[in-house]
Amino acid sequence: MIVILLAIGIFLAIKFFKGRKELTEQPEGPPSIAERLSSKPALSFSGEELKQKLIKPLGGPGLLYETPGFQIGWLPAPVDSFEVMIKTTDVISAKEEATAWFRGKGFAEEDICALPVIFYLGWEVNQQLRDSGFVFNSLPDFCLY
């Protein structure tokens, strides 16, 4: 009797834990920017100072810097981000140049990741790369979150 009960218990336990695995399984695919934003680290004191210095002249949302390959805009709260639109299919170079611009303004890598700086592809580039299999990272490549 005890053996039978034990066998039933083991069977049910296996079934239960198998079910639990299915319940906690996450959908495949890279994490969203939305999820990464919610876990981003805080901007350092010096980073915050640099940010304020950069956006103060704008007095609101606006364009900060533009080259043929990208443009950097600022959007205040609730968005609160620097948004970099890539305008060339040479995405890697454009991202590096844009990141170098932030470095040139005095931002450390940790602060560039904490701003946040979000990259996105302009429509024409988006179209051109649509079927190329190119995987676009919306964050600076060295950001860990």
Partner: protein
């Protein structure tokens, strides 16, 4: 320009004032507690079986202690059976009984009508030609035209318009407030930071003439053309209404409508809970 700025600024402020912080779902917390309680109960029962076993081994033939050991083991096994048996019975009867879900209030669509009606007539996929701010939509002037940007807010003031777009999503997204983490509305951020840039690169004038829709994929959310009566698949309108129809479409079909929300196509799926 000042008026437009004030409009978006007030939109943004209103969105900030009205945004409500809702904690992570109570139902999910109860589910988690239930699952862990089952696991802990099982471990506890196994501990009692071990205890009963030790009692049995050390009874040295004492009938009272043997009886006591058997009682401990039997009680633990019965407890284990009841514990998992109830779970199995509930799951067999109706899986939802073991998976509590949050109650989500559906917003009355009639109360969500945009202030400005969609430009142009429904039921047609026609266009006004020209590349001016008076033009509305059309394959002739897209993607350089302004079918989705008749007031040129995106063309001339993209950063300002994007702020207005975020404020609109924050105010009207059907899944707003479902997942708040560190003060950020994750579902609102998914619309703005993941879905829209993937679908259109924040360009309300985009038209993609290819599969799966013969009449093209239009606007910020790459939706249908012509706005047939009764359909929410409508992207050939100004950008504010593109967002309005995207939310209607989400209410009807969920995220599966958008290729950019499908992990199977290599894109980022919506965060859990959105």
């Amino acid at each position: 320009m000042v008026e437009v700025y004030q409009l978006f600024f007030s939109l943004s402020l209103a969105a900030e004032e009205e945004s409500e912080t809702i904690g992570l779902g109570l139902a999910q917390r109860i589910n988690n507690f239930y699952n862990w309680a089952l696991g802990i109960g099982a471990i506890f029962a196994l501990g009692i079986i071990v205890f009963g076993g030790i009692l049995y081994i050390t009874s040295a033939g004492n009938p009272d202690r043997l009886r006591e050991a058997r009682a401990w083991i039997t009680a633990a096994l019965v407890g284990l059976l009841v514990l998992f048996g109830s779970f199995l019975i509930l799951k067999t009867l109706n899986p939802k009984l073991t998976n509590l879900e949050d109650i989500v209030l559906q917003i009355n669509p009639k109360a969500d009508v945009p202030e400005v009606p969609p430009p142009g007539a429904r039921g047609s996929c026609g266009y006004h030609s020209g590349d001016t701010c008076d033009s509305y939509w059309g394959t002739a002037n897209a993607p350089r035209g302004n079918f989705g940007d008749p007031t040129c807010t995106f063309a001339e003031l993209p950063e300002l318009a994007k702020l207005g777009l975020y404020a609109y999503i924050l105010d009207n997204a059907p899944n707003k407030g479902r997942v708040i983490v560190n003060g950020r509305d994750v579902c609102v951020d998914y619309w703005y930071y993941d879905l829209i840039p993937c679908e259109s690169g924040y360009n309300p004038n985009t038209v993609f003439m290819g599969s799966p829709q013969a009449t093209g994929a239009w606007g910020l959310f790459q939706m249908g053309c012509g706005c047939p009566v009764g359909s929410t698949d409508c992207g050939s309108v100004d950008w504010g209404n593109q967002a309005y129809y995207a939310f209607q479409e989400y209410r009807q079909d969920g995220w599966q409508y958008w290729g950019c929300a499908r992990a199977s196509l290599g894109h980022t799926p919506p965060p859990t809970g959105c």
